[in-house]
């Protein structure tokens, strides 16, 4: 019995140990020998839910053959907080990869620990890439203690949103495009009460929005910035040298609040704006609930996004308009910052002499070969070029392998490392098309170009300013929304009292820290 039992346990142990090998599919450390230089890259995937480039991706071979680099890729988690955790854990173990994408505030914590190498001398070694990707603002973006510690590639496109209005509704009511806040109010009232869609129902509102808040666009957030821009207080901060600080502390912010409250009290804004999520908001304008909104170019005009509206309202016509001018003539769609994706080189990689190899790799990515291969894949397989030389997903033997199709997206996961918002990629991303129902010719690029001509407030770096603690943030957001919804009476006395309380709770300190940070980092403008 004893023997039988012991052998059973022995068998179980062996099975368990053997089963561990099932899970040991990872890579072993490279044996350092004369051969290709191993470069480990942690990148931000272009399409987070698509897989990584396959093991037989042609890019690995080209990079090895031409640059003698053995590239090892890891897609960072899709969420920024998760990215930070992963990078910080690796940093604590001195196990950072050779090249990695990192947010600026995490980078600023890694630099004092000596874990990241400066990159100042690399710009000259990458002339093509530096010309396309790294202008003076970019080179300054990751500058810490006088040295540049990150290669800041252009991120999402600036000023790609606009104020849109239903031109068909204006025409139905015989109204002109509003240019001032007073005219805007009049149009909102007409859109709400005069049946602009002529369906005989009282089912429309003037303005549509939802709360979209971030570091530099505090409550009420991005979708209402054109209203606050009319009072010169769009965005969380003002970065003008003469008036730098939190906008909420300025007198004009109170005026903007009074204006917003008037809109809400008159019921001329879609009342769901406080509960809408992004998808609800987008469903609402496609259902014709409101006639004025701030929207992003592609979310509005890209083929798949515009199609439901086109189907519902073939006669419907949104146009991009100038932001309304306020009492003192100020106007702005909202603040914009320069978005960058920072790639840093670990000190460990620099010590191992990999910095030059990394520069060679990045410079190759900026070459025509690297640009097209990483941006769109292999010509003839993943894309073809149209008469203007723009990559298109047409004329392919297997349409599923097109760069925009599920089968082809894995080979373009590194495209954010080569794209710099140049014309070729924008034409490829936002092609001209004819809508299915109304047969209108549309292009999200044309819309974006028009949006970029409107008045905006430059606030480069405002997204890097200090953020308030959770309690102060809650006090700020809750207080403002209570004034608008009527839970607090909005009058000068109550406002002054609330501002005093806000300052005491840490608002003044937040303001002072932000101004000091902006000064230190040369973010203030004249």
């Amino acid at each position: 019995m004893k023997k039988h039992c012991t052998s059973r346990i022995g068998m179980a142990t062996v099975v368990l140990l053997l089963s561990l090998s099932l899970f040991a599919q990872g890579t072993k450390e490279e044996v350092k020998a004369a051969g290709p230089t191993s470069v480990e890259l942690w990148y931000g995937a272009a399409i987070t839910e698509a897989g990584p480039p396959p093991a037989d991706w042609v890019g690995f071979k080209v990079i090895k053959d031409k640059l003698n680099i053995d590239l090892k890729l890891t897609a960072l988690p899709s969420n920024e907080n998760d990215q930070d955790v992963k990078i910080q854990a690796a940093a604590a173990a001195n196990n950072l990869p050779d090249l990695f994408m990192v947010r600026r505030d995490v980078l600023s914590r890694l630099v004092p620990q000596g874990l990241v190498a400066p990159v100042d001398d690399l710009y000259a070694k990458m002339p093509v890439r530096t010309a396309d990707h790294y202008d003076a603002v970019s080179q300054n973006h990751a500058r810490i203690n006088g040295k540049s510690y990150g290669l800041a590639d252009p991120g999402s496109i600036n000023m790609n949103e606009g104020l849109l209005i239903r031109k068909d509704w204006l025409d139905n009511l015989g109204l002109a495009v509003p240019t001032t806040t007073d005219e805007l109010l009049a149009v909102m009232r007409a859109f709400t009460f005069n049946d602009p869609d002529k369906n005989g129902k009282n089912d429309t509102w003037g303005y549509g929005a939802f709360q979209e808040i971030n570091n530099f666009e505090a409550w009420p957030g991005r979708r209402l910035e054109p209203l606050f821009g009319a009072f010169g207080v769009d965005g969380t901060w003002s970065l003008k040298e003469s008036e730098a600080g939190l906008n909420v502390l300025k007198g004009e912010f109170y005026d903007a609040m009074v204006f917003l409250k008037k809109i809400v009290d008159e019921g001329i804004m879609d009342p769901n704006w406080l509960s809408y999520k992004k998808d609800d908001f987008r469903a609402a304008w496609k259902q014709g609930r409101f006639g004025i909104m701030r929207e992003q170019n592609a979310a509005f005009a890209a083929q798949a996004n515009y199609a439901p509206f086109d189907k519902n309202f073939p006669e419907g016509n949104w146009i991009v308009i100038d932001p309304p001018k306020g009492p003192t003539g100020k106007a702005s769609i909202g603040p914009y910052t320069a978005n960058y994706r920072i790639y840093a080189i670990s000190a460990k990689a620099a010590k191992e002499g990999k910095a030059d190899k990394i520069a060679a790799l990045l410079e190759w990515m900026a070459s025509d070969e690297g640009y097209y291969l990483l941006g769109w894949g292999v010509e003839g397989v993943n894309y073809t070029k149209d008469a203007d030389g723009i990559p298109v997903a047409k004329g392919l033997a297997d349409p599923n392998l097109a760069f925009s199709a599920p089968g082809g997206q894995t080979v373009t996961q590194l495209r954010n490392m080569v794209f710099y918002n140049g014309d070729i990629e924008l034409y490829a991303r936002y092609p001209l098309y004819v809508t299915e129902t109304s047969k209108k010719e549309m292009s999200a690029l044309t819309v974006m170009r028009e949006m970029q001509t409107k008045a905006w407030t430059a606030q480069i770096g405002s997204d890097t300013l200090p953020i308030p603690n959770a309690d102060l943030k809650r006090f700020y957001e809750q207080g403002l929304s209570e004034f608008i919804t009527g839970k607090r009476v909005l009058n000068p006395a109550n406002w002054a009292k609330w501002i005093d309380e806000f300052k005491k709770l840490g608002g003044q300190e937040w303001n002072d820290k932000g101004v000091a940070f902006a000064k230190e980092n040369n973010l203030l403008t004249r």
């Binding site: 012991t6 899709s78 854990a89 604590a92």
Partner: protein, 306 residues
């Protein structure tokens, strides 16, 4: 059929007790509470299911979508998910982690719990203390990361389940269960010449199906849902399990701002998100009914001396 609240014995016969008004009121309250509970659970579930079937050209809010007629449902999201190599690979990795994790954890937890349940074990109190201390004071992320790195487990699926293979909580439940088994059984086996390992395998384990299934379920659910360790320890994207992919899909909310199609083709991303949530829950949903009978029994028995 007459309603009763129970039976009482009168001599050799049972007599039904007639429910009072208070019983009726109490039953009504209980029924009402359970109905509310059912709505709270069922509505989000139904919302997720109907969302996963919404066609690409659907416009409307969530409430309307919940009542979308079945003949208007689209299976595009499920078709896209099941045809996506990344999803299949992630599913396979999750299954490997689940099997490897549950097997390893049970193989390590059972002997430990049994040893700790032997009252005559020298230094038993000290050993218990050694196990309970890290349960109260968590070691933290960085030391764990260093340990996994130095063990060479980065980019191994075993990194997900090996460092936390023994859960103190599960071990203590199992120990309590073993302590509750009649000592006479163990004694008689020992008198017959069985070693402690034989006592465990031949006597204890056949009586412990309920607790093994219950603890196995606890382990299974935690390994199946483990996102954090996979995110931390698996750099090789081809090893990433379902929770990572699920997270990536759920984070893809801004996608329609930039591209015409998503990685799953023409299916709307909201439907893809809902379908992936639903599909990733299916294995656990299937497993629960089979294990439920052991589950209640196992946890109750384990709690007697807990």
């Amino acid at each position: 059929m007459k309603k009763t609240t129970g039976y009482r014995r009168v001599g050799n016969t049972s007599v039904a007790i007639k429910p009072t008004k208070a019983d009726h009121s109490f039953n009504f309250l209980v029924d009402f509470f359970l109905a509310v509970l059912l709505v709270i659970i069922a509505v989000p579930l139904w919302s997720t299911i109907t969302l996963s079937f919404r066609p690409n050209d659907y416009i409307g809010n969530n409430l309307q979508g919940m009542f979308l007629a079945p003949w208007n449902w689209s299976f595009a999201a499920y078709k896209a998910l099941l045809g996506n190599q990344g999803f299949i690979l992630a599913f396979k990795n999750s299954i490997l982690i689940l099997i490897g994790g549950v097997a390893t954890s049970l193989l390590l937890t059972i002997p430990l719990a049994y040893v700790l349940s032997i009252t005559t074990l020298p230094g038993r109190k000290f050993l218990n203390l050694l196990i309970v201390v890290p349960y109260v004071f968590n070691v933290g992320m960085i030391p764990s990361y260093l340990l996994v790195t130095h063990l060479g487990l980065i980019d191994h699926l075993a990194a997900i389940f090996l460092p936390g293979a023994i859960s103190t909580y599960n071990c203590l439940i199992m120990r309590s269960f073993f302590e509750g088994l009649p000592n006479e059984l163990k004694e008689s086996a020992r008198i017959d010449g069985a070693t402690e390992i034989q006592v465990l395998i031949r006597v204890i384990l056949p009586l412990s199906k309920a607790i093994i299934m219950t603890i196995g379920l606890f382990y299974g659910v935690s390994f199946w849902n483990d996102f954090f360790h996979a995110m931390l320890y698996l750099n090789d994207n081809s090893l990433q399990p379902l929770p990572i992919l699920l997270r990536n899909i759920l984070m893809a909310s801004g996608m329609n701002e930039y591209v015409e199609v998503n990685a799953f083709g023409d299916a709307p991303i909201a439907a893809i998100k809902a379908a992936s949530v639903f599909m990733s829950a299916i294995p656990m949903v299937i497993a629960y009914p089979f294990i439920q009978k052991y589950f209640t029994k196992g946890t109750l028995l384990g709690s007697v001396k807990g």
